[in-house]
């Protein structure tokens, strides 16, 4: 299990780039977010690859209280005897630890999360590069602190890159919640529970392509524009952080 190895020099510390200070003046800034962040400010990200040694690739991500560990196995023979296919397969599984949420053993719908993770990642993997075989992605949410799915997706993409699976691009994911008139980026659980709408974008930052987009609640078109722009901006910055994390590991290995 990965733990915060804060003492080792290899630790990646969140760069200032994670703190998006694009403060736009908002009309009613009469409330403060539970963790006293700015509305357009993401939680500091801590990312690290190689958290699980038996896996082909793995990553650990910590965004505030949301802590996620993802391991990637394969490409390997698919366990299930399925139909022959020319392309590789992706198999995703998301699970929660029993202590991930305040109420013991009560996670949200994992089947749903697994299928959403699958959809977010499959467009970014060059499946033709490993015909007939299968890549397994296992995500474990150690602690659920809001925006779980975006963190799982970003972390899984990092783990895939760590495993040396050919990717079209990294996948970064960010969500926004709409609370009253305001948009808040990277919401925590509390904000998610009373939002009027949420929007999650998963994109390939350098290809400028959206692989997954989920919206619920009521949105006007200009608001969707704003929210998407906000998310895309955050995604590209998160992508940079992920890149530097990957590069740091290689540089460290060399030294």
């Amino acid at each position: 299990m990965a733990s915060k190895t804060g003492s080792t020099p290899a630790t990646y510390s969140p760069s200032p780039a994670t703190h998006k200070k694009k403060r736009i003046p908002i009309a009613d800034v009469d409330w403060v977010r539970p963790d006293s962040r700015g509305f357009y400010q993401c939680r500091p990200a801590y990312l690290r690859t190689g958290a699980v040694s038996p896996a082909a690739g793995s990553a650990y991500a910590e965004f505030g209280n949301t802590k996620v560990i993802v391991s990637v196995f394969g490409p390997r023979e698919s366990k299930k005897a399925m139909m022959y296919s020319d392309t590789g397969r992706l198999n995703c599984d998301v699970s929660y630890t029993t202590f991930a949420t305040p109420n013991r053993g009560q996670g949200s719908d994992k089947k749903e999360l697994s299928s959403m993770l699958h959809k977010a990642l499959e467009g970014a993997i060059i499946l033709e590069s490993f015909p007939k075989t299968c890549v397994d992605v296992f995500a474990l949410v150690l602690e659920s602190g809001g925006s779980d799915l975006p963190v799982v997706i970003s972390c899984a993409s990092l783990a895939l890159a760590d495993a040396g699976i050919l990717l079209y691009d990294l996948v970064a994911s960010v969500s926004v919640s709409c609370v009253g008139k305001n948009l808040v980026i990277d919401p925590v659980s509390e904000e998610e529970s009373y939002n009027d709408g949420s929007l999650m974008i998963t994109c390939m930052p350098s290809r400028n392509q959206v692989t997954q987009l989920i919206v619920d609640g009521e949105w006007s078109t200009p608001k969707i524009h704003d929210a998407m722009e906000l998310c895309l901006g955050a995604c590209s910055k998160l992508g940079e952080v992920m890149r530097s994390c990957l590069k740091d590991v290689v540089t460290d290995l060399k030294e």
Partner: protein, 196 residues
């Protein structure tokens, strides 16, 4: 011909225009905007084309610091351990692809007709392989949903290492037989001609 560039690339990183740069291993060309991107994390290397080639574009490769485990491809030579011998097929677990060991188990099948190149009809699977033998084989195709199809129908392919009933590692005495150094017993096998 390769010139190592001490530069790191990550998946999705732009490497250049496809009109100037060909994509080698660990890189790909996007058909939408004609840009070459990296698809792996690792060091970039630029391979200059031979001076007489028509295409004067350089090829860019990304060498992964930790490429994924070896996966059998059609045409690759593999080493496999025989697990089951039946009348028409032998099943083997691939342990090495070319010179790399695999990280995960891959199953291969040597069919009756792929054991040797001549007198295919007279092949007796039980006189060619025994469970536990290490064979060198060629990957014919991706096979069916379950296994890769392997072939030993070449002189240099076949059993490279086998244990006799008494537990000694046998030495080849002909291309069809191996002998146990402990008991002198001769056992039939499809033996590979291993280059010294």
């Amino acid at each position: 011909m390769s010139i190592a560039m001490e530069e790191l690339a990550t998946p999705g990183q732009e490497l250049g225009k496809a009109s100037e740069l060909k994509a080698g291993k660990g890189a790909y060309v996007s058909t939408e905007n004609g840009t070459t991107y990296a698809s792996l994390t690792g060091f970039l290397s630029l391979i200059r084309p031979p001076s007489d080639s028509v295409d004067q574009r350089s090829t860019v490769e990304v060498t992964g610091h930790k490429a994924h485990g070896a996966v059998p491809q059609p045409g690759s030579i593999v080493f496999a351990r025989v697990t089951k011998v039946m009348a028409r097929t032998a099943t083997a677990d691939v342990v090495c692809v070319d010179s790399k060991s695999v990280r995960e188990k891959f199953t291969g099948i040597i069919r009756h007709q792929d054991v040797r190149a001549t007198e295919i009809d007279k092949v007796d699977m039980h006189l060619s392989f025994r469970p536990g033998d290490i064979v060198r084989a060629l990957v014919l195709s991706l096979g069916d949903a379950r296994a890769y199809y392997l072939s030993t129908a070449k002189n240099e392919l076949g059993v490279v290492s086998a244990e006799s009933v008494s537990g000694g590692t046998m030495v080849p005495i002909s291309w069809t037989e191996m002998q146990c150094p402990l008991t002198g017993q001769v056992e039939p096998r499809k033996v590979a001609k291993v280059e010294a």
